[in-house]
Symmetry: C2
Subunit: 195 residues, 2 copies
Amino acid sequence: MDKALLEASFKHYFDQMGYGIDWQYFTQSMQIQPVRKGEFLFQQGEKVDRLYFLHTGQVRYVSVSETGKEYTQSFAKSPRIIGSTRATIKGTKALFGIQALEDCMIISYPWHSFFDEMRQDKGFLECYCHFMEQIFILKEEKESSFVKDSAEKRYLDFCVDYPELKDKIPQQQIASYLSITPVALSRIRQRLKRT
Amino acid sequence: MDKALLEASFKHYFDQMGYGIDWQYFTQSMQIQPVRKGEFLFQQGEKVDRLYFLHTGQVRYVSVSETGKEYTQSFAKSPRIIGSTRATIKGTKALFGIQALEDCMIISYPWHSFFDEMRQDKGFLECYCHFMEQIFILKEEKESSFVKDSAEKRYLDFCVDYPELKDKIPQQQIASYLSITPVALSRIRQRLKRT
DNA sequence: AGAAGGAATTAACCCAGGTTAATTTTGAGA
DNA sequence: TCTCAAAATTAACCTGGGTTAATTCCTTCT
């Protein structure tokens, strides 16, 4: 794997947002990490102290309740920063795990030293705010669809939002994203077929 | 109303978070705005271009669906920044309104000039990131309780989280926060009484 | 190709919460 | 204090999704 290329991809991701980040601060050691389909980047409950950047591939954020039911919080597609902002910032355990939906290439940096250097940089802070805003808006949209829409509507929305995943990942995972059982999803699909 | 006092309260709110904000940048004209119980600071669909600070009182964030059903997204208690980050940043219409649950005192500043000055200030940016993180964490918690808990559990949690609101606001509003009908909430309360 | 284990479908039954509507309680204004 | 409208309760009925379990359909491994 070409390290310089990955690093360039990472920087390009930030730069294209239009914030002037001063990369001279950026001297951290990068780590390259391939993650195979089905494997976890990290599991729920682990401490996360790195900033992850998904260079290629797709992942899902998944949490498991005490009663053993899994819930897919969201999907993410490269190129993108991934990880648990919450856990990383607070230094606590992650409330969810990140699982590869296909073979992925992920690079990472130690968060604290990264952030300590980067907080010196206004461009980075702005960029970070922007990132927070984006996932915040996504969360708001998911919340509202939860409250307002039926499971059927949410499934149809899913098919539009993630056409590439619709026939690629197991239905269980789709069901857990919609927060229904696989049985209920199967019923919905059947209902849709018949019309 | 003592303008200097309000301004001090606003600054104190930021300062206590421990970020060194350079208030010399802060030359914006402040606007004082009392909002009476039941009135709206702004309605869903309005353009919001001010930064609001809730000095005293409590409010709720409420959105109305196309079918006319209202949903209470969250409650906020002074002292706190309130408003629609999303709408303010993007310059779009607010997806919810803010209604006073009691007589409130609110101060505000024009957002864009405020932010343009403040983005010069690293302390402010950090503080803003921190604010985003906080509401983000709240959103995550609400999402997870939605998926994992029954309406009854959510009502009991509400009673713990907002003891001061439990007997103060109409049950309709509590129901709309739990995302159930007032009828269902009444049933739940009755069930709880009987045990 | 055959075996085995997981994924999806289908069916039967249950229950929480929605809907509608009638009834009672509450509270603000005259 | 009385009045009237809005809020809350209660009842009857309905529906979507959960649960369990049996069956079929893939995959993948040998």
